[in-house]
Amino acid sequence: MIPLELNILLASTMFTIGLYGLATQKNGVKLMMCIELMLNSANINLVAFSAYLPNVNGQVFALFSIALAAAEAGVGFAILIALYRLYGTIDLDNINAMRW
């Protein structure tokens, strides 16, 4: 069995990569990917603790979370496509109509 610490280390690494990407990237698709990374790091945590305790609830939640992520990705990409049609780009620096 893989020790809990390694699981947490993996999850936090993934989370940090996702966060870094979110803070630095401009491309909308890349941002979506970063968000997915962060979400999945949370899933890893859920599964890891579920196996560690042991308590099946965590794995159930992970399943929910995956389903939710799928829906979120669907909505997110739909928005990106709409933005592309409007602006001809998905570079978020150029999409600033709501700015002051």
Partner: protein, 674 residues
């Protein structure tokens, strides 16, 4: 039985008001017959009540309203004579108005407003507490405003309405101040009130006057006097009354001669014990009244507008009534009877004169007496009824005005013997002028040559009828009612728990009682029987004082005749005083009141003060608010840069925020704060 329907005295006109307002224009003549009928109903109920309670009962009905206030009906002799007079005169005027307003597109509005006016005036009269009286008082003021501005498309009418409203408002504020002061003083007495008794009810006020500090009483009295001065057009708040003639003539007759303007006099009569108890209270009333009587009479001499002559005459006669009340300082409650007698008599002959003037204007189509002359040839009825009214106003022997006005002059003499002769002198001069200006008007309208080409026809019978009825009263009322009236009104305050001897000590009056000092001062013995001193005491005066009013009246009429009646004309007015004569100019300009009040006071003092206040308002009050909002806006200008629209910045801020929170919370946990 009629007493149970006392509320209908106000209720019927209110009903007529609602009907005329909403369905008036579907009815013939704007529904004027409804207003006339409603007022007639009120007259019938008033007469019924009169037959029930005369001579020694009163009606007092009351129901709770708020914790400290009630609504109620109080019909005592004072209120009853007013109710009868108002319902009677106003019924006639409404009947007349059915003819006069016929064909006016706003007739429905006129009759609705007139009905509302009637209701509020009647409500004012039989209110049993000061608050209720004040509410109706304001309603009456409102109706006055609406009716003066009835022809609101005419700029002068709109301006006159505004002037009336604002001027009386000055008085009303004083009145309200007086009521509040009175209420506070009554409340601070901590009275143990019986159920059904309230602080502002007249009987309660009367009973506890002596316990209020005299200085406070004077303040209250001056406040109430302020209200009365505003409503009754006394100096210096009289300026609105002559301008109020812009309304239809029926309005002038109804509101500005017979009924509404008497509300001020009625208020002083109603609160007479208070004025009596207040040191200087009655002195102020007498001073205002006597001065106004003379002041307005002089202006009446030069006016060319027939209605303005009558308006100045009204102001002057109201001054007589006020002076009559003020003279109560020397003769006690008898003054109420004398003043009220003049009030009632005046309302008959002044309504008659106004309606007659309306009849003339209706035919001639001008207000200017310089364009009339010789109207009598074509309007016999109007001429003779107006002659009766004029004789009555001038105080010709055995007409109503002779009994009422001259009684005031006679008791003013008593006041003079005891206290001060100034009111007497003022009133005598005013009476001379009254006779002169009244007949100047009558002669120049009805006699002589036609000075312009005017409409030559008599008015319809619906207008002549009320004139004739009023003429009967203007002639006979004084003679018929004289002695009973005084004794009935004298009994007014006997229904209440009020001790005039105690009050006269507080007020510092010369008299200990009502009669003792009068006899001592005049050195003659007057029969002091309670209740009938009205007629008796008059005989205590020297004969020349008794005769003087008759000489005044006849002399005044003859003087006017010498100037204006072509049969005995000796002088030409324009030769006696040239056009540039300073006195004539001053009178014509109304003592430059317009210049002083509008030019100096309104545009100089008030406008100047307003400018200063405006500057303070803009620089200081608005200033710091503007500064604050400018600061907030500047701050927001800077801080809104945070909304960069760059998602990455938001993410960074979010993460940093979480980090800070985590650090702070863990640190707090470390040191044991959380």
């Amino acid at each position: 039985m009629y007493a149970d329907y006392a509320y209908l005295i106000v209720g019927l006109p209110v009903l007529a008001f609602v009907l005329c307002l909403f369905v008036g224009w579907h009815l013939p003549r704007g529904g004027g017959f409804l207003t006339a009928l409603a007022t007639f109903g009120a007259l019938v109920i008033s007469l019924g009540i009169f037959s029930e309670i005369y001579p020694d009962k009163i009606i007092h009905q009351s129901m709770p309203w708020f914790a400290n206030f009630n609504v109620g009906i109080l019909i005592d002799p004072l209120a009853l004579v007013m109710l009868l007079m108002v319902t009677f005169v106003v019924t006639l005027i409404h009947t007349y108005a059915n003819g006069y307003m016929n064909g006016d597109p706003g007739a429905a509005r006129y009759f609705a407003e007139a009905a509302l006016f009637t209701a509020s005036m009647l409500g004012l009269i039989y209110a049993d507490n000061l608050l209720q009286l004040f509410i109706f008082w304001e309603l009456v003021g409102l109706c006055s405003y609406l009716l003066i501005g009835f022809w609101y498309r005419k700029p002068s009418a709109a301006a006159a309405a505004k002037k009336a409203f604002l001027t009386t408002r000055v008085g009303d504020v004083l009145f309200l101040t007086g009521i509040i002061l009175l209420y506070n003083n009554m409340a601070s007495l901590n009275l143990a009130l019986k159920p059904g008794e309230y602080l502002l009810q007249f009987p309660v006020i009367y009973a506890h006057l002596a316990e209020i500090p005299p200085a406070q009483l004077t303040l209250i009295a001056l406040g109430l006097l302020g209200g009365a001065v505003g409503k009754s057009g006394q100096f210096p708040l009289h300026v609105w009354l002559p301008d109020a003639m812009e309304g239809p003539t029926t309005v002038s007759a109804m509101i500005h001669a017979a009924t509404m303007v008497t509300a001020g006099v009625y208020l002083v009569a109603r609160m007479f014990p208070l004025f009596y108890a207040a040191p200087h209270g009655l002195t102020a009333v007498a001073a205002v009244g006597a001065f106004t009587a003379l002041f307005a009479a002089t202006m009446g001499l030069t006016a060319f507008d027939i209605k303005r002559v009558l308006a100045f005459s009204t102001v002057s006669q109201l001054g007589f009534m006020m002076a009559g009340l003020g003279i109560g300082a020397a003769v006690g409650t008898m003054a109420v009877g004398v003043a009220m007698f003049h009030l009632i008599g005046h309302s008959f002959f002044k309504a008659l004169l106004f309606l007659g003037a309306g009849s003339v204007i209706h035919a001639v189509n001008t207000n200017d007496m310089r364009e009339m002359g010789g109207v009598g040839k074509y309007m016999k009825w109007t001429m003779y009824t107006m002659l009766i009214g004029s004789l009555s106003l001038a105080g010709f022997p055995f007409f109503t005005g002779f009994f009422s006005k001259d009684e005031i002059i006679v008791i003013a003499y008593e006041y003079g013997v005891l206290i001060n002769f100034l009111p007497y002198i003022f009133l005598v001069l005013a009476a001379v002028l009254t006779a002169i200006y009244t007949f100047r008007m009558w002669f120049s309208v009805f006699t002589g040559k036609e000075r312009s080409n005017y409409g030559k026809h008599e008015s319809p019978m619906i207008m002549i009828g009320p004139l004739v009825i009023l003429a009967v009263f203007a002639f006979g009322f004084g003679f018929a009612a004289q002695s009973d009236f005084y004794s009935y009104l004298d009994s007014n305050f006997e229904h209440y728990d009020v001790n005039f001897e105690e009050l006269s000590v507080i007020g510092g009056h010369v008299l200990a009682g009502e009669h003792g000092a009068t006899e001592a001062a005049t050195g003659e013995h007057a029969p002091a029987a309670e209740g009938e001193h009205g007629a008796e005491e008059a005989h205590a005066e020297p004969w020349y004082i008794q005769i003087l009013p008759i000489i005044i009246a006849i002399g005044g009429i003859l003087t006017a005749g010498l100037f204006y009646w072509d049969k005995i004309k000796k002088f030409d007015p324009s030769q006696v005083t040239g056009d540039n004569d300073p006195i004539r100019k001053m009178l014509l300009k109304g003592y430059y009141q317009h210049e002083i009040l509008t030019g100096w006071f309104a545009e100089g003092v008030v406008y100047g003060t307003a400018l200063i206040c405006n500057t303070i308002d803009i620089k200081l009050v608005d200033g710091w608010l503007n500064w604050l909002s400018a600061w907030v806006m500047g701050f927001a200008q800077n801080i809104r840069k945070v909304q960069s629209g760059v998602v990455q910045n938001y993410v960074t801020a979010l993460v940093l925020g979480i980090v800070v929170l985590v650090v702070v919370i863990s640190l707090a946990k470390e040191v044991g704060l959380a």
